[in-house]
């Protein structure tokens, strides 16, 4: 198998699994309990929180563990909007957000908030001047992702954060694709809330986090016990959280080196694609991009057919988004960048990870060429 869907999820690192195992077996105590058996689990959760905070240059007290990125996004938007209810009911977001943000914004719109979905340019970038121009006296929250999951384009979050800070508006960024992959300093970027997810950085599924800037206290996500400072109650999932912590620790150690290597793989891959397959188009921003994401529009053949063909050769890639039944639907993110529906339907995403090799990328180009020439 050649796995090129690392933006969907990544293989858990062996040392993550190793870190988790004791908490799935012997160390099963409830971390909230009083005895040392439980305190030892609590200490590991504290350590995981420290590792996650370190990646952001933040204090552990600003990290709240959630059951994933979607939960963190939902929480940030709903709580953020509610915190500023006195000020107004206007929210600004982009037209290329993940459904976790897009659909939460739509929900808020149905609750009486007014939501501005800002357009993006052909590379999927939000113009910070347009954000500035969209801010009104009643604007309470801005949510723009750190980098786009389909194109890899990195958004100008620092400039947006500065605009938000000047205007006294809360700023949320969905950093699910970037956390542990490229550095970000929320304090310096004027970020109020930041969402991340463990399984995108070789951690386990089902755990994520919300960073909350110092001095902010969002409303509770759930009502219950005192876990996560009472804001996100429910007995912790120590194995997942500790696995997340280990993934964050590893990412801090190897992020720069991995990013450089993956970036080279990506550049070579793009070059090979361009030279070997005529008529393709590489989408997104070649410079301001995540190290591993390559979005390609092919001249012919639908992405569904291509994906099945690649699958038959053991190559895992992705396209668009899936409906509840599992069928591929053309991506609204791609059409938001000015692509036609037809082009969006011929677009694949290859997302490279730390395990991919130059040989795998060469093989992928070879298979793509063969498949396209047969069709």
């Amino acid at each position: 198998m050649i796995y090129l869907d690392n933006a969907a999820t990544t293989r858990p690192d062996p040392s993550v699994i190793q870190a988790m195992m004791p908490y799935l077996t012997e160390q099963f105590a409830n971390p909230s309990a009083f005895y040392q058996e439980a305190v030892r689990v609590r200490m590991q959760i504290d350590l995981a929180r420290q590792h996650a905070a370190d990646l952001l240059g933040a204090a552990p007290g600003n990290i709240y563990f959630t059951a994933g990125g979607t939960e963190a996004d939902n929480w940030a938007l709903r709580a953020g909007a509610e915190m500023m209810r006195e000020k107004g009911r206007h929210i600004i977001t982009s037209s290329v957000e993940h459904p976790a943000v897009r659909n939460t914004a739509r929900y808020l719109a149905s609750c009486g908030y007014e939501v501005t979905f800002l357009p993006v340019d052909g590379r999927g970038r939000v113009d910070p001047d347009e954000v500035r121009a969209a801010i009104r006296p009643d604007t309470v929250l801005i949510s723009v992702m750190h980098a786009n999951n389909e194109l890899g384009t990195i958004e100008p979050v620092r400039e947006i954060g500065m605009a938000a800070r000047e205007a006294g508006v809360l700023f949320h960024t969905d950093a699910v694709q970037t956390f542990g992959h490229i550095p970000i300093d929320p304090e310096e970027c004027g970020i109020s809330f930041l969402s991340a997810s463990a399984h995108k950085l070789n951690g386990p599924k089902g755990v994520g986090l919300l960073y909350v800037a110092p001095g902010l206290r969002p409303g509770r996500l759930l009502y219950g016990g005192s876990q996560e400072r009472s804001l996100r109650p429910g007995t912790e999932n120590p194995a997942a959280i500790i696995g997340f912590g280990e993934a964050a620790r590893l990412a801090a150690l190897r992020m720069d080196e991995d990013a450089a290597r993956i970036r080279t793989l990506r550049q070579d891959f793009i070059m090979e694609l361009k030279s070997q397959i005529p008529g393709i188009r590489i989408n997104g921003d070649e410079e301001q991009s995540l190290p591993g994401i390559v979005s390609v529009t092919f001249p012919s053949v639908s992405s569904e057919t291509l994906l099945i063909r690649l699958d038959q050769h053991g190559i895992c890639a992705s396209a668009g988004s899936a409906c509840s039944a599992g069928a591929i639907e053309p991506s609204p993110v791609l059409t938001a960048c000015g692509m036609s529906e037809e082009q969006a339907k011929r677009t694949l995403r290859f997302s490279l990870g730390r395990e991919n090799t130059a040989e795998e990328m060469e093989e992928t180009v070879r298979v793509l060429r063969a498949v396209l020439s047969e069709s």
Partner: protein, 358 residues
């Protein structure tokens, strides 16, 4: 090993279809065609195809058979080729058969094309029908061995090329035997209900669907008898089909039936049942299957709607692509838009679309 994509609706027939092909040694890929249901419609009905629960059922069968499985998206094709044509037909006052359109334009259209593009030699469905090679060398759809279940009618428009690329393993068995095979093989869909209605109109209320989908259920207007007397009013012609008795809401003192629809004028004509019986029909948009051309001297057996019995008839060409079919005994309510399928023995010679009954 020949590669075949089995269309899996989540029902028992298509599940057994995939199972039989696997048993026969084919390399089988399972695929569910996503054609209608969207994410927002949360209500799932047992027996409906292509909803999320149908996909789950199909996927369970694929797991059970250990075959690759994909959900393929045909929503746009289906909307354009089936739903739009269906609506346009109803609004013109005819009664199209969406299953025939789906077979013609989707299963043996976009689906076959996509399966070929992923390297398949054949596609297969769970229809109760068989494929026969005639002494002439032509291929034809042949009635299934199951006396109680015959789905050949909806397959009449298949071309020779399409027939050559199709496997119909279910047609070799009795309906009851198919359920037994499903049980014996431990397929999780063995007890699933059969689908009945038009898949995109599960409540059977065409006029409501048309109103939601196109904004109109046809011109509202008058109920008339054949002498031109006004018997009542209706809210739109698309609610009616030839031969319909129920739901007219007119008190004529005797049973009356829809016998003609003038969609342009908004008039629906009613009559006694006797008038519905026609000795002749005009058929166009001809398709040839077992025969290259129909023989005016031969006796054919005809079917003018899915649920009707075969009746003997003769044919006469009015034009190159227009046929007059004369029945030995008059046939009840042949309906414009439905197919007239002509059989020789137990195989399909060809067929066409009914334009009018006389």
């Amino acid at each position: 090993m020949a590669k075949v994509v089995a269309a899996m609706s989540g029902g028992v027939d298509s599940s057994v279809c995939a199972y039989l092909l696997k048993q026969q040694g084919y390399e089988v890929i399972g695929a569910t065609m996503q054609i209608w249901q969207d994410d927002s419609s949360a209500v799932e009905r047992e027996g409906s195809c292509c909803g999320a629960s149908a996909v789950e059922d199909a996927r369970r069968v694929a797991q059970c058979l250990d075959i690759p499985y994909y959900v393929m998206n045909f929503r746009e094709d289906f909307s354009r080729e089936v739903i739009d044509r269906f609506c346009a037909g109803y609004l013109e006052g005819i009664t199209p058969n969406p299953c025939i359109m789906c077979n013609r334009y989707i299963k043996w259209g976009a689906f076959l094309e996509r399966c070929r593009a992923i390297g398949a030699d054949y596609i297969a469905t769970g229809h109760y029908a068989r494929i026969i090679r005639l002494p002439s060398g032509r291929l034809a759809i042949r009635r299934s061995v199951s006396a109680g279940k015959d789905q050949t009618y909806v397959l009449y428009s298949m071309t020779q090329e399409e027939l050559a690329a199709t496997l119909l393993p279910v047609g070799e068995y009795e309906k009851t035997r198919i359920r037994e095979i499903a049980r014996e093989a431990g397929l999780p869909t063995a007890t699933r209900k059969d689908s009945q209605d038009i898949c995109f109109i599960p409540d059977g209320r065409h006029e409501r669907f048309l109103k939601e989908h196109t904004g109109t259920a046809g011109k509202s207007g008058r109920f008339l008898d054949l002498d031109g007397n006004v018997l009542g009013m209706h809210d739109g012609t698309a609610a009616f089909t030839i031969g319909q008795r129920k739901g007219l809401g007119i008190a004529a003192g005797r049973p009356v039936y829809v016998c003609r629809i003038d969609a342009a004028a908004g008039d629906v004509y009613v009559s006694d049942e006797e008038t519905l019986f026609k000795r002749e029909i005009i058929v166009d948009d001809l398709h040839y299957m077992g025969e290259e051309r129909f023989e005016p001297d031969a006796v054919y057996m005809a079917k003018v709607r899915y649920s009707q019995k075969l009746v003997p008839c003769h044919v006469r060409y009015l034009k190159d692509d227009k046929l007059c079919v004369t029945f030995e005994d008059p046939v009840r309510a042949p309906t414009p838009g439905q197919a007239a399928v002509l059989y020789r023995d137990d195989w399909i010679a060809g067929g066409g679309t009914i334009v009018e009954g006389k």
